[in-house]
Amino acid sequence: MRDKLDIDATSRTPAVVFDFVNNHLKISGESYPEDVTEFYRPVFNALDEYLGVLGQGNCRFDFELIYLNSSSAKAVMMLMDKLEAAAAGGATVDVYWLYDKEDDTMQELGEEFGEDLEAAKFHLEKMAG
């Protein structure tokens, strides 16, 4: 398994930093890619690969998104589903939803996503600064 997945942010896509060695995964920035499937496919694949070998291990996933379009929201739901499935399978998964303190929409969206998580532990927090 690879050590890391590192995708730089662009004006339309978020930064993806999956530090598999330290079990810390993070997506941050804005997400409205021209082709959502195309952008998220390698992200999904890398996560599947990682979670497939995580077993009973620990994992932290940070969502630090400023803006996302509807298709990206679906992609985020899929990431959450994968994390929830891993947690249901015995892993300790902490999902952090970090939102801008001025952005009520992103806060509400995080609350809704969190409602679907049962096995994974959900944390809703304001972004630092």
Partner: protein
């Protein structure tokens, strides 16, 4: 593992459901029919979700593009406003601040129009300007004149004057339009301004001599109060906000007849300022357009200044007014007169 397409998981669920239907494993036909209907509804719901998501993405895309355009337009507007502000600032230097303010706030229309108003008018001129500056280089002369006009203009504006125009070294300003603090206060402000200008001029003499003027500048000033026509005069393409009328000509004549470094005021101005300004009546002057020679007064100073320098004793209370001009009257005579008054008061 479900497909990682956005709706891969849903497609896989549907495929499994379809397989179940096709396997014919439902014992109960009614259950099978009901399950088939549910799968059909699920398919329909999934199609609707895909469509709505595409539509939502497209709308968001357009909204983002519009926001971007709007931001760009705002930046453009801000840039244009900045350019307009810079232009307006440049143009403002050709106008008196009050006129500029009136026009830019919309309080005054830029059209050929005028009205009659009673104003206090001021003229000043440098005595023998040409001779004084004859031997100077034009650059030095320009600096000298601009410095003089800047200093005088600052004083005029501090006192609330409306700058009408500069005619070479001459300055024409008026008080009472477009803003007025009342006829009396306008006239007083005008005289105070003239006195302040003379004071500043004395301070500038040294500087000018260093610049090469062979003799210091000296001024003549005239002030008069009366009705004038004030407004925009000229053509629709090029107009001046100014004043016209016989009172304006009379002020110019008063200025012409003033002594060097002196202020000569007309009778109406005198009547408005006499409580504050020490004057001395002069021989009336003849002015074209006026049947009678004009009564005029030389300004000797502001009482406040004269009291401070000790040349005047002034006491004023309700029903009691005392003014002793020690330049005009011998101290002993003044004491004698006062003692006579005190004796009468004692009965």
């Amino acid at each position: 593992m479900p497909s990682n397409d956005l709706f891969g998981a849903e497609e896989q669920t549907l495929a499994a459901a379809q397989e179940l239907i096709e396997s014919g494993r439902f014992a109960d036909l009614a259950d099978g029919k009901h399950y088939k209907a549910l799968v059909k509804d699920y398919q329909k719901l999934l199609r609707a979700t895909r469509r709505l998501m595409r539509l939502s993405d497209r709308n968001e895309e357009q909204l983002n593009a519009l926001t971007k355009e709007q931001r760009h337009a705002n930046e453009l507007i801000a840039q244009k406003n900045k350019e307009l502000d810079a232009l307006a600032t440049k143009l403002s230097k050709y106008l008196s601040p009050q006129i500029y303010h009136s026009i830019f706030t919309g309080a005054q229309n830029v059209e050929i129009t005028s009205s009659r108003k009673k104003l206090t008018i001021f003229f000043s001129d440098v005595v023998n300007f040409t001779e004084t500056t004859d031997k100077m280089e034009s650059e030095d002369l320009t600096n000298l004149l601009n410095r003089y006009l800047t200093e005088m203009t600052n004083i005029a504006l501090e006192h609330g004057a409306t700058i009408d125009k500069y005619i070479g070294d001459a300055i024409m300003v008026f008080f009472g339009d477009p803003e007025s603090r009342g006829l009396k206060e306008d006239a007083r402000a005008c005289v105070r301004m003239a006195v302040a200008m003379l004071k500043r001029l004395r301070e500038l003499h040294t500087e000018w001599l260093e610049l090469g003027a062979e003799q210091p500048f000296h001024l003549r000033m005239g002030i008069n109060t009366g009705y004038v026509t004030v407004g925009n005069f000229g053509s629709n393409d090029r107009m001046d906000y100014t004043i016209i009328g016989s009172c304006v000509n009379a002020t110019a004549r008063l200025e012409f007849h003033a002594e060097t470094d002196g202020i000569l005021i007309g009778h109406e101005t005198y009547a408005l300022v006499k409580d504050e300004v020490n004057t001395e009546e002069q021989k009336p002057i003849k002015v074209k357009g006026f049947a009678e020679p004009l009564r005029c007064y030389k300004v000797l100073g502001l009482y406040d200044d004269l009291v401070n320098e000790g040349s005047v004793i002034r006491e004023e209370q309700d029903g009691f007014r005392l003014l002793v001009d020690l330049k005009k009257r011998d101290r002993a005579e003044a004491i004698e007169a006062l003692e006579a008054v005190v004796a009468r008061l004692k009965g």
